[in-house]
């Protein structure tokens, strides 16, 4: 009888301790969550704070932590292109969009073709190509801005959007090859062999087996390429002239200019950052799928 009491006592203690620890862990993770929330959103909040100011001028820089009189005037001035420095906003936005989308399409196309040839067509010495591609990262992109500036001129591409697109594609593809190769190794070769027996050509293998099965990886590559081009400031500001700029280049060049209408500038910044977020949201299923695809193997 006494033995049973002795046993239940430590058990209850252990259970209580377990419960206490779980509560503490829970509290800790909620606190961490709050910290991460503030950390992630602070600069975004700062953008909104300035963008919601009613008029340009010193008012947005009074150390406010809450917009005193929130107004959408900044956004209106951007959309109608009335704000100073933002007269060509939609033209610049169009340029950004063109660069982003072209980089995305070209990276996916050129990258997937090369990766298909190397990983699926059993090209001897194919791995050389991937290694050579990685060599691209031996010298960071920003280190090569001077040579690029001159080379693009000699290619007849000075002040052309294509100059920017080509540089972005150049620096997106090595990473794309890495990702594509990783995923291609998960598609069984038997599929290709079976299609071969049915008389499929290399092009058909690429179009009908490789591309459909690689959709998640291609989505990751597409997002990566778009983000790279969308994030770029240096190449867009150096390779393009003032009259044919992108949003990034224009905003970067005015970044410390206290005379600029900052409520409208921040409103423009918010409009500019939205498309990738929308794309990420639209493709979230593919991204999630590509993240868990390893389950097949692991």
């Amino acid at each position: 009888m006494s033995a049973a009491v002795d046993l239940s006592q430590p058990l209850r203690l252990a259970r209580r301790r377990y419960r206490l620890r779980r509560t503490l862990t829970e509290a800790g993770s909620v606190m961490l969550g709050v910290v991460l929330l503030i950390w992630s959103l602070a600069p975004v909040y700062n953008m909104l704070l300035i963008a919601l100011d009613p008029e340009e001028g010193e008012i947005e820089f009074d150390g406010n932590i809450w917009p005193p009189e929130p107004s959408l005037e900044g956004f209106r001035a951007v959309v109608t292109q009335e704000a100073r420095y933002l007269e060509n906003f939609w033209h610049q936005f169009g340029n950004s969009l063109f660069i982003g989308l072209s980089t995305m399409v070209l990276t996916v196309l050129v990258g997937s073709l090369a990766s298909f040839a190397v990983s699926r067509m059993r090209l001897s010495k194919g791995s050389l190509l991937t290694n050579a591609a990685l060599f691209t990262y031996a010298i960071p992109a920003s280190f090569l801005i001077v040579p690029y500036f001159r080379i693009m001129h000699s290619y007849g591409l000075s002040n052309s959007l294509w100059a920017v697109i080509l540089t972005q594609v150049t620096f997106a593809i090595p990473f794309a090859l890495l990702v594509l190769q990783l995923f291609a190794s998960m598609i069984p070769f038997e599929l290709d062999d079976a299609a071969r027996v049915d008389g499929a050509s290399a092009v058909q293998l690429y179009l009908q087996i490789y591309l459909p099965l690689m959709t998640p990886a291609l989505a990751v590559v597409a997002i990566y390429a778009l983000m790279l081009a969308w994030n770029d400031y240096l190449y867009q500001s150096v390779l393009l002239s003032v009259r044919n700029m992108t949003v990034s280049a224009m905003q970067g060049q005015l970044f410390a200019d206290t005379d600029a209408p900052w409520n409208a500038m921040m409103a423009a910044a918010i409009i500019y950052v939205l498309p990738p977020i929308a794309l990420l949201f639209a493709l979230r299923r593919y991204v999630a799928a590509s993240l868990t695809m390893g389950d097949v193997k692991g």
């Binding site: 993770s29 991460l36 950390w39 992630s40 959103l41 600069p43 300035i50 820089f61 009074d62 150390g63 932590i65 196309l109 050129v110 073709l113 090369a114 040839a117 067509m121 059993r122 090209l123 001897s124 791995s127 190509l129 290694n131 591609a133 990685l134 691209t136 031996a138 010298i139 960071p140 920003s142 280190f143 090569l144 801005i145 001077v146 040579p147 690029y148 290619y155 150049t170 593809i173 990783l182 190794s185 027996v197 008389g199 290399a202 994030n231 770029d232 400031y233 240096l234 990034s248 970067g252 970044f255 410390a256 910044a269 500019y272 950052v273 990420l280 993240l291 390893g294 193997k297 692991g298």
Partner: protein, 305 residues
Amino acid sequence: MSATQQVLAAEPRVSVKGPQHKRRHRHLRGSDFKWAIAFIVPYAAIFFALVVYPIAYALWMASEPSLYADLIAGPLYLSTIVNTLLFVGVGVNVKMFLALLLSGFFLRRRRWIRALLAIYILPWALAAAQACISFHWMLIGEAGLVDGVLSALFGIEGPNWFNNRWLGLGSNIIAYIWKWMPFWTVIFLAARIRIPRDIYDAAEVDGATGYRRFVHITFPLLANLYLICTLLSTLWTLGDFTTVYLVSGGGPAGSTEVLATLGFHYAFDAAKPALGVAAVMSAVPVLIPIVIILMRRLQTSEVQV
């Protein structure tokens, strides 16, 4: 060519003894070989026109030895080297380590943590230039949000973060970590999802929980990926121009410049392109070993667990 013919053509391959894999490599059939080459040509063209040529051009521009004497004689070069080492060394390592820890947090299957993850990766989705500009205005001194919050909540008068070299450098590092930590967290998260549960279950039976589980199971399994990511990120961060240029702007008086921005200033503001190229190319002796280690790591093992 009909299917039968193809099978017949493939026949000798199968019947010959020896490892079938190697045979296949050598016997890429004629039309296929042409297609494979055709598929590779676009990238090869880009590679030679836009990687090999610019790098050769940069090396040629920076080959004059007197440029390096000029660099060292210049007022900013040595402090820029120190800044670059701190920016890359502290930025990359703190970011990677926090990303690894946070990937464990986001592994927990709670609905609110899933929702938080969506917000947490927002910095990565935000365009770099705009995010950095927001950081710049947030830290601009008493006019900025950070000092506003400091004085409203604690009554502290905050500094102007860009009037002091170390505060400026710290601001750059914080902005850099803010922007790039989510990306690597997601990479680690993807790798950790793939670690089979049984390993943890077995470890739990042996009494390994909490941090011991992390030290003895998670980290060894992720070590190779962690190294690869750190090396890759080091290369990318050395070339990070936007963060430094748009957060502190290199100021005050160029004391927070890194190599990428110093090279830019020399080339475009001081109109000394060769000196600018020499400034950035002086990092090449450090870059090459990193790339070689990276290639070896990628070759010897899969990136995944």
